[in-house]
């Protein structure tokens, strides 16, 4: 039982125990809930200490598909860093939930599912075996479905849960078929070997990575499978913070990072990724600008930020993507938890009811402002450095020294810069509507309890300091590269370049200007405009997928009910009817019987004579 497996099992066991014993006392449930992810964090820390992980692969020596449980694990810089982030954020979310979920009757099952989710995410992170990866991937999807549908009394919670699961499941078809192709083509289920073998054969690489990309689009809510994330806000805020901001949505990016040599061997797929990322990045940011609900603004912002990571991967820089993934996790979790605190205090998440809370919720105000600044990418916060690294990577690609064509680099660079402006705009709008201006809504507002704002503070620390680790090459870059199973050249420093800084500052200022003008309450809108409802993508889904499916279902049930059923019962009644007709020949007159018999005999004689003659 290797250390990574222990790290995965602690939250899983906590979940199981929580489910069993949770009903008894809330305190016990709370303690177990926090203990799970905390245990994982401790083990992750221990793993981090033996930094130059000598032999990353710990496999069970039994390849081939019919093996005992796929327990092979991978421990390298990439895995440990993400694992640390996941367990850190999960622990904070569990602590936060104790306060947030005080009035929730089904707290024990909620806490258990969050721990189970953490275990699943960690399983994906340390998965050295494709099968373990698939197990973690799907269990994550299930936990997100269960947690979104936590208070299933509400109609939109039920609908959102099903929508989330099905849309991600659509993506998962591609993912599973991709994994099947990978196993089939390379014959092994060990991730490094499979990736190495796949990257050597371009066709397999293209097909496999194209299919896996489908799964990633579903999980990381990229266009066209992004529609489920905004609706997922129907779930409780801590869930949105953990799953729909920091971890699960990032799992897609992580998997691409893990399979990166294969993706590099398929430039076509990378180009497609770049285009999709750009569409999502800009589209989501613009939609976020017109949202009327606090959490939906943040949701669309997450979609846009994820597009940044995908774009970074598309332009050939895995480190930039992972760097942005980590930093985004911190400040976006912070923002969602802060939003949760506000909703907890105000009672509604609609912007109309929120306003002028600066004085009544000081800590939340302070931490949320830090988060928004990081989101926008203001120096010296983590967001600035990670976003800059993406821009630098795009600029390298534009210069043509990456696998992808230069125009892709230019496209990503331009769209990224424009999105910075739009991001700044919606961030400022959000800030102004929430904190500045007169107090909308009524009733006393007081600060969230300590158990809720402590995690906010704890998250604010990495949001402030994490950026600096990227400066010298020996810190974060080497950490991510540290004897990664597939070395990708020398670890370049993720230091921002002057020209990109200039561009982003200019875009930032423009954005602030736009945001300032649209801070007036009248600009909130009621969220019914086409733009607000996600550019009609949902309607498109309804027409292109849901409606035809229901028509098909109708045909099948119709076909099954009438055609096949009718034939079977028809045969039944048909035989009975022939029986009836035969019966009518028996009317009782013996002379009629004899005449039929004799005519039959004559016919038999004639036919036999004819057949014998021929």
């Amino acid at each position: 039982m290797t250390a990574p497996l222990v790290m995965v099992l602690i939250p899983a066991v906590a979940a199981f125990v929580g489910l069993l014993v949770g009903g008894m006392s809330r305190a016990a449930a709370g303690a177990i809930a926090v203990a799970g992810p905390l245990g994982a964090l401790v083990v992750a820390g221990l793993l981090a200490t033996e930094q130059p992980w000598t032999d990353p692969i710990v496999d069970t020596g039994f390849h081939g598909v019919l093996q005992p449980f796929p327990a092979a694990t991978v421990v390298d810089g990439l895995a440990v860093s993400v694992a640390l982030m996941v367990s850190f954020v999960a622990t904070l979310v569990q602590i936060y939930s104790i306060g947030y979920m005080k009035a929730e009757p089904r707290y024990s099952s909620y806490a258990a599912f969050v721990s189970l989710f953490t275990a699943a995410m960690l399983a994906v992170v340390v998965a050295g075996d494709l099968l373990l990866l698939v197990v973690g991937w799907e269990v994550m999807g299930l936990c997100s479905y269960l947690l979104i549908g936590q208070n299933w009394e509400r109609q939109e919670a039920r609908r959102a849960a099903v929508k989330a699961f099905l849309v991600t499941k659509v993506g998962d078809i591609g993912f599973i078929v991709g994994i099947v192709v990978l196993i089939g083509a390379t014959g092994t289920t060990l991730v490094p070997n499979a990736v190495q073998a796949a990257s050597s054969d371009p066709t397999v690489a293209t097909v496999a990575s194209g299919l896996i990309l489908l799964g990633v689009l579903g999980k990381s809510a990229q266009f066209p499978l992004h529609a489920w994330l905004p609706d997922a806000m129907a779930g409780p805020s801590p869930v949105s913070a953990l799953i729909h901001a920091a971890t699960m949505v990032a799992a897609g990016v992580y998997v691409v990072a893990r399979f990166y040599p294969m993706f590099l061997a398929a430039p076509g797929v990378l180009t497609a990724m770049a285009v999709i990322a750009c569409i999502t990045m800009l589209g989501a940011a613009v939609i976020s600008l017109v949202q009327s609900d606090l959490k939906r603004v943040l949701a669309w912002s997450t979609v846009s930020q994820l597009a940044y990571m995908v774009a970074a991967l598309a332009v050939g820089s895995r480190d930039a993507a992972v760097f942005h993934l980590l930093s985004h996790a911190f400040f976006k979790a912070l923002l969602f938890l802060a939003a949760g605190a506000i909703i907890h205090a105000v009672g509604s998440s609609a912007l109309r009811d929120i306003g002028g809370l600066r004085r009544s919720m000081p800590v939340t105000f302070m931490t949320m402002t830090i988060g928004l600044l990081a989101l926008v990418g203001v120096f010296p916060l983590a967001g600035f450095f990670s976003k800059e690294s993406v821009l630098v990577a795009a600029e390298h690609a534009a210069a043509g020294d990456e696998v992808v064509a230069p125009w892709v680099g230019w496209l990503v660079l331009v769209v990224a810069v424009v999105t910075i402006a739009v991001t700044a705009a919606y961030a400022v709008r959000l800030w102004m509507l929430t904190w500045a201006g007169p107090r909308r809504g009524n009733g006393p507002i007081h600060e969230a309890p300590p158990v809720m704002y402590l995690p906010l503070v704890l998250l604010a620390v990495p949001t402030l300091l994490f950026g600096f680790t990227a400066l010298d090459v020996s810190a974060l870059p080497t950490w991510i590269q540290a004897n990664a199973t597939e070395p990708l050249g020398t670890p370049a420093a993720l230091t921002p370049a002057l020209v990109t800084i200039a561009l982003s500052v200019v875009a930032l200022l423009i954005g602030v200007g736009i945001g300032w003008r649209s801070r007036l309450p009248s600009a909130i809108g009621d969220g019914t405009s086409i733009l607000a409802r996600g550019l009609g993508v949902d309607a498109a889904y309804d027409w292109l997928v849901v409606r035809p499916f229901l028509v098909l279902v109708g045909w099948t049930t119709e076909f099954d009910q009438h055609v096949i059923q009718r034939t079977v019962s028809g045969v039944g009644s048909g035989t009975a009817a022939t029986g009836g007709r035969l019966q009518r020949t028996q009317r009782g007159d013996v002379q009629r019987y004899v005449s039929t018999a004799l005519t039959a005999l004559i016919v038999a004689v004639v036919i036999t004579l004819v057949t014998v003659a021929t």
């Binding site: 035989t575 019966q583 013996v590 018999a597 005999l601």
Partner: protein, 486 residues
């Protein structure tokens, strides 16, 4: 002129039965009690069986000229004789109840039945057409009298009339067939006929003659289209007589069919298709009409018509690589043995229930399991066997044994028809079996007091059939390998 030496030992079974008939008649006259006649009947059968077995391999009534004997005992004939005799014993047990309460004159009944049985015992061992026809008449005529023997029942006369007219018509036609065969081959003895068949292809007259000869066989086994009389006669006659008709007289028919097809084995491409169509139509028609029946006896009549179709299948499938031979004959005898046990059992239960409760419609058997569980389980077992559904194992095994022949000879359509017929058959057997175990509806039919006298013998007949069927299910080679035992 050599005096024909007659080996009485060979003829013993027929003589014993005939003698028994007379003794039974006289016994009833002397003692005025029908039960004694039944006792004599049972003793006669008990004595006849060992004689039949002992006679195996003998032959007699041989003509001095070409030493062609007209009475040859083969293992096949012994098996058929044993089946006929044992079935008669069961029918006598069944009938003793009717005889006891004067519904049927005891002496005459047993006398007529034993006369008919003496003919039935004669047929399997006949070796020429003349003896065959005479024996067939000896079997048939007493049965019409038996059918009409029912006191105070106008429909019995009508039933006897229908059977009688159908019989004399088919016998006349068969005789004409024999005349034609004799005309074309100049021989009546089976050995000479077989030689003539091997010698040349069938001339048109011979073909016509043979097909017409099959008429009387089709009448005896009540195969469609010669089945018209069967349902009406079974309904008109008393249940034991209907049982007798459905088993013993059919066994006689099958013996005749086996002998005829055996003789003309060389011409099998000519008669096999006719028999195949006969079997196919009988199986399908019998089951289809049985679906619609409401009266228990009429349903059993149509069911026994369908079962006759199954029994003929091996003969019908003689084609290509499969020639007429012991393998085909054993399949027919195997099914016949199982059929006799199952069918007699079903008739026995119907007889008991009809006498105790007066129920005639199988629909009214609802909840029989509540009132007399033993009878219900027995009837369910017989119906399952007839349907070929486990726990009625023997019914299934003999169907498998019969189905092997068409599969081996490649007569696919026949195998398909049998498959479909079995499924249709299952429908009505199952419906009846289900009625037995359903909750009895509210107005429980009053169960009349048990007729004290003679009712135990009827139950014994049910028990005998049940024992036989279960024994066959456990050790199927008792039935399937009966011929090899002698």
């Amino acid at each position: 002129m050599t005096i024909q030496s007659i080996d009485l030992m060979a003829l013993a079974p027929t003589l014993v039965v005939a003698l028994g008939a007379l003794v039974a008649l006289i016994a009833e006259l002397v003692t005025r009690r029908g039960q004694v006649a039944v006792g004599v009947g049972l003793v006669t059968v008990a004595v006849a069986v060992p004689f039949a077995v002992a006679a195996s391999g003998e032959q007699t009534l041989c003509s001095g000229v070409d030493s062609a004997c007209s009475y040859v005992v083969t293992p096949l004939s012994v098996a058929l004789q044993v089946i006929v005799l044992v079935s008669t014993a069961v029918v006598l047990l069944m009938a003793s109840a009717d005889i006891a309460d004067r519904r049927v004159p005891g002496g005459e009944f047993v006398f007529l039945m034993l006369c008919s049985v003496s003919g039935a015992v004669l047929i399997p061992a006949t070796n020429d057409l003349v003896t065959l026809i005479v024996a067939l008449e000896v079997v048939s005529l007493p049965t019409f009298a038996l059918v009409a023997l029912r006191q105070g029942e106008s429909r019995a006369a009508e039933a006897a009339l229908k059977a009688f007219i159908f019989s004399i018509a088919s016998v006349a036609v068969s005789l004409y067939g024999i005349a034609l065969l004799y005309g074309t081959t100049g021989a009546v003895s089976f050995d000479q006929l077989a030689a003539a068949a091997q010698a040349s292809d069938p001339t048109p007259l011979a073909t016509a003659g043979l097909v017409m000869l099959l008429a009387v066989v089709a009448f005896k086994i009540a195969a469609i289209p010669f089945h018209g009389w069967a349902p009406d006669t079974y309904q008109g006659a008393t249940v034991p007589v209907a049982a007798y008709l459905s088993v013993v007289s059919k066994a006689a028919g099958f013996s005749a069919l086996l002998l005829i097809t055996g003789t003309f084995a060389a011409w099998s491409e000519m008669w096999a298709p006719v028999v195949a169509v006969l079997a196919g139509v009988t199986m399908l028609g019998g089951n289809l009409v049985a679906l619609r029946q409401r009266l228990a006896v009429r349903l059993l009549a149509w069911s026994s018509i369908a079962q006759a179709g199954y029994i003929v299948v091996p003969l019908a499938a003689v084609a290509g690589s499969v020639a007429w031979g012991p393998d085909v004959a054993n399949a027919v005898v195997g099914y016949l043995v199982a059929y006799a046990a199952m069918n007699l059992g079903a008739f026995a239960v119907v007889a008991v229930v009809a006498r105790r409760t007066g129920i005639v419609e199988w629909g009214d058997y609802r909840g029989l399991a509540r009132r007399s569980p033993g009878l219900a389980v027995a009837l369910a077992f017989f119906l399952a066997s007839l349907a070929g559904l486990p726990p009625g194992l023997i019914g299934l095994l003999v169907k498998v044994r019969v189905l092997v022949v068409p599969v081996e000879s490649g007569v696919w359509w026949l195998a398909a028809v049998m498959a479909v017929a079995t499924v249709i058959g299952l429908a009505y057997y199952l419906a009846w079996a289900a009625q037995l175990f359903r909750q009895p509806d509210v107005d429980e039919r009053p169960v009349t007091a048990e007729q004290a006298t003679g009712s135990w013998t009827a139950v014994v007949s049910v028990a005998a059939c049940l024992a036989l069927t279960v024994a066959f299910s456990v050790a199927p080679s008792l039935a399937l390998g009966l011929v090899d035992r002698f």
